[in-house]
């Protein structure tokens, strides 16, 4: 009875599509090239010339609305700054503080996140996928855009300040059966990472500004440390990065 209604090639095609949906590249992330086109900076600085850093505030907005900065973001920011090795110690407001008269650099970070989930488009496309009995699921991608603009204010112990800005954005593309909350989290993480890297790269270029004068006597050997932005992935051209299913929980 079934064979009278559905031909074998048709059934085979449906099975192939179903397998394809389950095994193929069902989601990927495009990360736009950062606006900062400067080459990755690095420098060698005297260890004793480094000063402590105090992360005073992180202000976060989400599509224009202020939100409490997630703890994971605070850790990510502090970790990124720490990994540059430009500062001797790292403090965060609300935790252990440097002593009052200690020379330090105070950091204030402002993050404006823009989220465009293409909700209306997703709803219509979802309706189309459902109406097609899911046969169009492997052919109709859904999109989620995320952008971040960061402004960093760094105030030196003597009151001099420097401002840095950076912008990064990316898109997650996925098919219905490849949707996963982790895809969106990875997109946000990668955009934030790229933006932070760009920002800190600018800071590294100004590294002499954040160091105290040479405190070492001329005849004493000076210990040095290499400072720079530790990048998790090469930047340059936009990345089209398929995420393997092994990343899924």
């Amino acid at each position: 009875m079934m064979s009278q209604i559905f031909s074998r090639p048709l059934i085979g095609s449906v099975l192939a599509m179903t397998l394809g949906m389950g095994t193929g590249c069902s989601h990927w992330i495009d990360l736009a090239a950062p606006t900062d086109t400067a080459l990755p900076a690095s420098a060698t600085v005297a260890t004793d010339a480094r000063v402590p850093l105090l992360l005073e505030t992180i202000r976060v907005t989400h599509n224009g609305s202020s939100i409490a900065p997630p703890a994971i973001l605070e850790r990510q920011v502090l970790g990124a700054i720490e990994s540059t090795r430009l500062f001797s110690q790292h403090y965060q407001s609300g935790y252990t503080q440097p002593t009052g008269n200690q020379v330090r650099v105070t950091v204030r970070l402002s993050i404006d996140n823009l989220v465009e989930p293409h909700a209306g488009q997703a709803a219509w496309r979802g309706l189309l996928v459902g109406a097609s009995m899911f046969t169009l699921a492997p052919f109709i991608p859904l999109h989620y855009d995320y952008g971040s603009q960061m402004s960093l204010e760094m105030e030196r112990w003597d009151g001099q300040t420097k401002h840095y800005t950076s912008t990064s954005n990316g898109s997650a593309h996925y098919y219905l059966f490849g949707a996963n909350p982790e895809v969106i989290e990875q997109l946000k993480g990668q955009v934030t990472e790229a933006c932070l890297s760009s920002l800190l790269n600018q800071v590294i270029q100004d590294s002499p500004f954040f160091l105290t004068g040479s405190t070492q006597p001329q005849d004493h050997p000076i210990r040095t440390v290499s400072v720079g932005v530790r990048r998790s992935s090469p930047r340059a051209t936009p990345i089209s990065q398929p995420i393997t299913d092994s990343s899924r929980r």
Partner: protein
């Protein structure tokens, strides 16, 4: 009806288990893009004879296992702020009246869930798809066993935990064969239902 009583008893017995689990993992539900939902819903179909030509009082229990995928973040602001999810549902109906017969269907489904009330989340849903039943041919309204089922309804999810919800609601059910054979008057019914959903 004894069969329905057994179903309702089973659901009632499952409720304390879920409630106990809720104390272990308390938290607000966070449903994001890509969150999947599997659910099991059971209900009892009650007939509506909309014209004088409708004579069959079909009724029986219905089971509806389902799978859904959330495809949007909450849309808009205000009381209608909500999320869209799409998915599919199997529909099994055991008609107990007028004859002990069966029906089985597969329906893609779209759901809009209002998220403004935190743990209590009303929703509206629509589903439609092919439906096979051996009741057809034995009643004057329907002649072919291959039919389509269309349902539209609303319900409320109460999140017992951030990952488990209790659902109750109402659906209007329509079964007909889209004019592929005659007679094709269609079977209409109300379907109050209850069930559970798990999100992951």
């Amino acid at each position: 009806m004894p069969f329905l009583a057994r179903i309702l008893t089973a659901l009632a017995l499952m409720s304390p288990l879920i409630t106990a689990y809720s104390h272990a993992a308390d938290g607000s539900p966070t449903i994001t893009v890509g969150t999947q939902e599997v659910g099991l819903t059971a209900g009892y179909m009650l007939p509506h004879r909309l014209t004088r030509d409708h004579t069959t009082k079909q009724q029986g229990v219905a089971f509806m296992p389902s799978w859904m995928m959330t495809i949007t973040d909450p849309i808009s602001d205000g009381w209608f702020r909500g999320q869209v999810s799409i998915g599919a549902e199997m529909v099994y109906i055991q008609f107990q009246e007028p004859f002990l017969t069966h029906g089985l269907g597969f329906t893609p489904k779209i759901k809009y869930t209002f998220v403004g009330l935190d743990r209590i989340r009303p929703y509206a849903e629509f589903a439609g798809g092919p439906f096979w039943t051996d009741l057809a041919g034995k009643i004057p309204e329907e002649s072919s066993r291959f039919n389509f089922v269309l349902t539209a309804g609303f319900g409320v999810s109460y999140f017992l935990t951030d990952r488990a919800a209790l659902n109750i609601g109402y659906r209007f059910h329509h079964i007909s064969n889209a004019g592929t054979r005659y007679p094709n008057l269609g079977l209409n019914a109300s379907l109050p239902f209850g069930g559970f959903s798990f999100f992951f």
